[in-house]
Amino acid sequence: VQSKRDILLRILRECQSLLVGYSGGVDSVFLARIAVDTLGAGNVLAVTGRSASLPSWMESTARAVATDFGIPWLEVSTDELADPRYAANPFNRCYFCKSELWTRLRAVAEERGFRTIADGANADDAGDHRPGAAAGAEQGIRSPLLEAGLTKAEIRAWSRELGLPTWDQPAAPCLASRIPYGLSVTEERLRQVERAESALRALGFRDFRVRHHGELARVEAARSELPELLRRRAEVHRAISAAGFAAVAADAEGYRRGALNEVLDVFELVPLRMAR
């Protein structure tokens, strides 16, 4: 692990100045913090792309951590929903979203003189279905955590050492990931998902997803939380119905990462870079 840490610091020093795509998640928060430590605050800018697909609690986290840890931070609006190719919700939806994000961030980087743009992809992301990575590759976006071979567990451990409040934050992909491929992504559906997930969080649940199936909300709760979810079914039903769902159900399998990707019988894995 020490050698991975050394590799990361070397990569960051080579970058000289860095603009970080900063969602408020575990990885990008960690990367921004380490980049500030390594390059100095004057050479780092963390930029959050704000749109309806970003959960508002993540935006709040991004803002709070930037303030508390001295990370220069900027928020820019992105408009992926206006792209019909994205809104149609194809298997490669993330490509169109990331294309929009990186185009906006590239403009900021050029305007402010940042040499390199980076994302928070890590070594565990390497075999997953990630069409968004292709958009990053096209625009020369680097992935220092992945290049250093750092896994999510290692990033969490290092984040904890640094006192980052995100060290044990559950993984939180964008809200559009709760909508099955082929069902269009709309602002209304994203709002429904966000309201439902906020309500469940307010009930004390922590590791779950609310999947949008039109009139039906299908809750995938971590297996450790599933019995509690079933025990409090009336509260859960009330909370999620209030977000505009006619029916509410608990997935019998429980939460698993990328559950909506289970329909992808065959897909092309996007090659991701890793340093040797």
Partner: protein, 81 residues
């Protein structure tokens, strides 16, 4: 996967799987825009048989009947008797 609602056999097959597992008291419908969710109404005493570790094979057989997901309806329970 075809739309299970276009095929009565998917739901029938799921009901047969439930009956075979001794869960004939469960209600079942296809839900979601493509009927991709098998929505079960389950008496509390039978939930563990479906969601617990021993239900792994049962869940797989229910999916094999023609559904992508198996889920328990959280609507207020009706009388199953």
């Amino acid at each position: 996967m075809s739309d299970p609602r276009t095929s009565v056999s998917a739901l029938d097959a799921a009901l047969a799987v439930l009956a075979e597992a001794g869960l004939a008291g469960c209600g079942a419908t296809a839900a979601g825009p493509g009927g991709e969710v098998l929505l079960l109404s389950v008496p509390e005493a039978l939930e563990e048989a479906i969601t617990g570790p021993d239900g792994t094979q049962l869940r797989a057989r229910l999916r094999d009947a023609g559904f992508r997901y198996v889920a328990l309806d959280l609507a207020p329970r009706t009388d199953f008797s």
